[in-house]
């Protein structure tokens, strides 16, 4: 039995590289059949807003996030409190092909896992 893995995505895209490098790590885990579940929390919920970063010469993180379900990463959660605090509705935070769930109690989700990768 290998460990269950949660990726805790706490950072907004573009301002730092945590979001992009976090996604790369999640996809790498999935490619090795260590499929993580993913929790977008705090400023991490901004990763799921549609984006157009051409103006700052960046690749679209949002577009790359669409790869998650294709890599088998299908358990994706959004922290309800984080979204509400930022005035975001679930309808604004969607990924094609994924069952994105709103989560009221992140603490009880986190403790279900053996390992947590923070990004």
């Amino acid at each position: 039995m290998t460990n269950s893995i949660l990726a805790l995505c706490r950072h907004a895209p573009y301002g730092t590289t945590f979001a992009r490098e976090g996604l790369e790590a999640v996809l790498a885990c999935a490619a090795m059949d260590q499929i993580p579940e993913v929790l977008f929390i705090n400023d991490g919920v901004y990763q799921l807003l549609a984006q157009n970063p051409q103006a700052i010469a960046e690749k679209s993180l949002y577009r790359n996030l669409q790869a998650l379900p294709m890599f088998g990463v299908e358990r994706i959660y959004i922290c309800q409190r984080s979204a509400t605090e930022r005035g975001l509705a679930l309808s604004q935070l969607q990924l094609t092909g994924a069952d994105v769930q709103l989560l009221e109690d992140p603490g009880s989700l986190i403790r279900r896992f053996d390992q947590v990768l923070s990004f």
Partner: protein
Amino acid sequence: MQFTLVVYGAPHSAQGAGTALRFAKAVLASGHSIFRVFFYGDGIHNGSALATPPQDEQDLLRQWQALQQSHQLDLTVCIAAAQRRGVLSESEANRLERPAANLADGFTLAGLGQLAEATALSDRLVSFGG
């Protein structure tokens, strides 16, 4: 028990790099082992051979290297994060036609699969923020 450490902090920039080193020493002193230290994000700069801090400041690179030697530590620098930021091994520098290599002895460049493996297989994973 086997620990994996993930280091995001750049040396002499964020305290996390030094904290990770102290924690690694404490893990080994406690009789546990270290499966892997994975340097990611800005943490990849810990693997630069060119850091030369003033003599009256701690030298993180030398200490990582000493620990690597005495405990055969696996010090893995993420190759994708390192290429972006300019830490290259001899073979990478040649392959990418760059003028110099700067990966320090004792460190290995490898892909994110090494992080996936370490996360899946080690007993504990501790991250050190930037």
